[in-house]
Assembly symmetry: D2
């Protein structure tokens, strides 16, 4: 695709995984950003099409090379397992290369909390306070001026977008929050092809994991919720694997402080997300995950149960787009001063 | 299969739907019960194999004929939409034919509550107090002497088996209960082949329905929970459709009254369900729905989250077996004085 | 998306079906063509998002209105059931509106053959000779100057692209041709949500249909093959439904006239399809349907079996893109003098 | 399940794979055969339920122990990768233990052909002539007196049952035979959980493999076809993987020697398979794979295409039942003098 003038080059590091591949796919259709370098240790020397046969480009994966990134790219995406970005972020930042990190390295503000959940010591804790949490609907202004953005995880994106309006208005009782989330299997990543994800075992089956608050996205959701609430929130979060490839649905439950109708809450969300290009609010009914397949949308539906004084919010995203690569590009657009929706205006695939 | 002597004949009414077909499949392998009559208005005159090509039997569907059932059968299964069993139950019972009703006609004790949720007036409210709720793990003795059993719904089975030990020991705070349930699409039934369940629209997609406490299984679960608790419980129940055919998983959340460890709760469940032939307790980890495909099992896993003082219980069943036809046969076995596991001893299909 | 200057407006008729929806999705990202009018009798007055929740546009479906199309649009896509385009084509063509018809109305040259297979009389047989068959890899020049293009069907596209190089070089024995094709269920369309396509019945199951040469794509494939061969070819074509939404794979078998190696045939295809923007030839191995999900590609793999002197060609497409809407846009691009790949440069979704 | 008196004990070797697990499941419901020993090197010391959570039995996997098998069992099933059975068959047979081998070790009569396709030298070529090919519908009498049965592979079972009546009556031209087969992913086995079978990559995708006659089931099918034809037949066989767990469909094409109607051929098959307990012939229409899920049936549909003088036969089986474990039990029943349908009378799961 012919790119506009004055465009930027960017690097994708960890390009052979699912989030990396989705970055490559989306960048190829971005009107003013060009892929400068695709890095994959496992696939270096191979064409992109060997990892992703549906990408038709002559570009070849390379080994990580900080000097080349610094010489050629305005921004680098890190899409590898946690632990890699923290090794290289300081060097790139020092040279003026902006970073969007899709791993968890810069998501948790407290290095002790990071170590507790990820079992490795943080290598550059000094950067944690400079990192901006990459959920534009909450932190747009700070992202626009950030050098280092910690791209939101998939479960936290769906969960926090569902919760934010209720927390901001203090309409719910924080310790009543229960988040029951359901994800497609691509969320487990490409490298993890163990027996648990073997097609015959995963197909036609649903299972919970990280039950009892043990999933690593728990502290990330709590940190965001606590920031909005301005004091510490502890909540229950349980992810489930669905027998499908893409899509993530979060069902969020909370007790209301005082009675509200469904219509009042829909109006609250409509006001809060007014003008948001990627939030789709349902006036009635609830979205299926399929409505955002391949698109950067987050659809939200809301219902109040008078009998229990509980509100239920259902949010759906494509875990690889608004839950990973699409949001990373949305963040990149803000950081580079481009229109926020550039390269993300396409609709969802249906069916 | 050669049947033992002294066997019973039974009728299956509504045999061309999914629960009916599963009854036909399971009865065919029952060692001491024989299918006397398969009733389907839509398929009358056709072989069973026209509705279920995998059932190899010369039996032909017939129209409903109370006199023939009375003359030949000890027991009748009603597997039709709500509204049919209540028309015919009194006549059959009066003639000594026992009934297992898989519809909702006799599940709710209060005819006003029935009318509120099902939008039809109950035709024989006098039978409601004679009907025994058909969940053997809770009501085995009463089922054994019952003439009329209201077979438990699929969601209530998974939910109540997960909750019962906690309610019986008053370990949890009732109004903190949230049940997030996930079912395969066979739960929607065979007649309902609307666009919502059209393969290309349902495939690769998850969606919530009945959000805000509007699903008809809500009062059924609350009635059972309230009976155990001996006072009224209101809880949140949200079902979801999964892109798979069979299987149902309930994730049940509740606040603990006082701190408990996961090990303590597993021990509680082990004691409570000791000797239960169809309950499988997981010492560690959590079951996937696939582990009970085709079998009458309910697998349960438990975890306590110290951070939130919430317990999470995950239970899985095959919605058409322990959630419908298998449980109906378990109830039948008790009602006819047969071994409870007769015809239900087979393991699950894997993979 | 901001459109370039000098762009065209087009109409999509039959916009609420799967091919129509895919046209809407692809047109929305086309750099120099704009949707002027979306027609759906069943959805008129409703927003596009009511039919396709993942399309974020304020456009509303309208009833068919020839005058408005003539007044505003350069080209109209017909994406309805057969029988509709033939009613309206003459009027639009006479007024200078070009037509890409995705139905079968203009695919068969002989009105008698049309009537034999479609059981309706052709309403404008005079247009049949003006209609150009819309497979650009075979008929690019004629499409460029055509007013009326009969867009290739999904099975014929995969089949003919697989066969053409062999027929053109007369390397195979025509009456040995067997085409065994496998399609995702979206190929059955959106309106056809009968029990056969009900999720629980279709899921986890493969079936053949149109066995014995009775599928309507048979004469279409034979007509194309015969044109290349310059004399009449009769072949065997059997379609199968796969438990998946998108994707189509054709396995084409034919006896070789004289011995050839796999390498020789790959070289033949490479030469024949050299420069084709949407044909992807595999030097080794065979493509899975997933490699072209959402993209306008056709991937081809080839093997010769020395033992049987048979060549096997495997071609895969996305049945809704290269098999329907993508190819329609490729044809439109040629007809409007736009770059052939405009709006179709995106890669496939993976995974 | 209480077993009848006079029952047999059998051993399952390679019990932790899919075919082994299916044997364990089916044996558990066999009325007169008991599992004496389950062997798995990888799972020795673990309960069966650790490999198959849906099997509720206290039995524990053990290491291979020929002496114990000889001391306790009448028959042993080998369900391991090729190469294991040939190491141990002689010892067991010498001690009077009968063998049903589900691997390929004894399927090919010619040790040179075995070595060509399996790349290992045969260790006991002398046993090859004693081995009986385990397809009861063709070799019932010889199986009944056999000590060593080579259980038919899944593709060969579906293919040969579809072809046999045509070959036996010499109605088709042998070198026109094309077999296009489609299998669920369980056919790839449990150990092979590589990226190719990772859920996100395999889901929603169809692919061919072994194209060009390179799949190891080719010589097995040809050997069977040639035996019927009484001279050597070479044919084309191409397997495909479907995005589903169980089920196998073979579409078999062949040119007729002289014109026949579809009705004539259905009559031919009806006569040939008259009385066969597991063959289900379709008078009209064609079976989907789902009709035999979990059951030992083979469904067959037939159509003649007058235009091409080709007959198309579609046969479907559950690849793990009639294609592996069910057929193994059918063979065992014959070898032990039990009713052929013992333990196999259950219908298919639907949906």
């Amino acid at each position: 695709m012919a790119k506009h003038q004055g465009h930027h080059k960017v690097a994708v590091i960890g390009g052979a995984g699912y989030a990396g591949g989705e970055l490559l796919r989306l960048l190829a259709q971005h009107p003013c950003v060009e892929l400068g370098m695709a890095v994959s240790e496992s696939h270096s020397g191979k064409k992109l099409a060997e990892a992703f046969p549906g990408l038709r480009t002559p570009i070849v994966f390379e080994r990580f090379d900080a000097a080349r990134i610094i010489g050629e790219c305005s921004l680098a995406f890190f899409a590898q397992e946690s632990g890699f970005a923290m090794e290289h972020a300081e060097q790139l930042l020092a040279a003026g290369v902006k970073i969007v990190d899709l791993s968890a390295d810069f998501r948790l503000r407290d290095p002790a909390v990071f170590q507790q959940w990820y079992k490795i010591e943080h290598r550059c804790p000094g950067l944690l306070e400079r990192a901006v949490y990459g959920l534009p609907e909450l932190h747009r202004d700070r992202i626009s001026t950030a050098q280092l953005v910690a791209n939101h995880g998939c479960y936290p994106t769906a969960s926090v977008l569902a919760l934010a309006p209720l927390l901001e208005t203090r309409m719910i009782i924080p310790d009543s929050i229960v988040i029951d989330a359901k994800s497609g299997v691509s969320g487990a990543g490409r490298a993890k092809h163990t027996l648990d994800y073997h097609f015959p075992e995963m197909n036609e089956s649903v299972r919970a994991y990280g039950v009892g608050g043990t999933h690593r996205h728990t502290p990330e959701i709590e940190q965001q919720a606590s920031e909005i609430w301005e004091s510490s929130i502890t909540l229950s979060f349980t992810p489930h694997l669905m027998p499908m490839t893409r899509g993530l649905l979060a069902t969020v439950y909370a007790k209301l402080v005082s009675p509200r109708t469904t219509a009042e809450l829909i109006a609250l969300y409509a006001a809060r997300y007014n003008g948001e290009p990627f939030i789709v609010l349902h006036d009635e009914g609830f979205p299926a995950t399929k409505v955002c397949c391949g698109a950067n949308h987050c659809h939200i539906g809301i219902a109040v149960d008078d009998r229990t004084q509980r509100v239920t919010v259902v949010s759906v995203i494509d875990n690889l787009v608004k839950g990973a690569a699409g949001q990373a590009i949305q963040n990149m657009n803000l950081m580079l001063g481009l229109p926020e929706t550039s390269g993300l205006e396409h609709g969802a695939l249906w069916p």
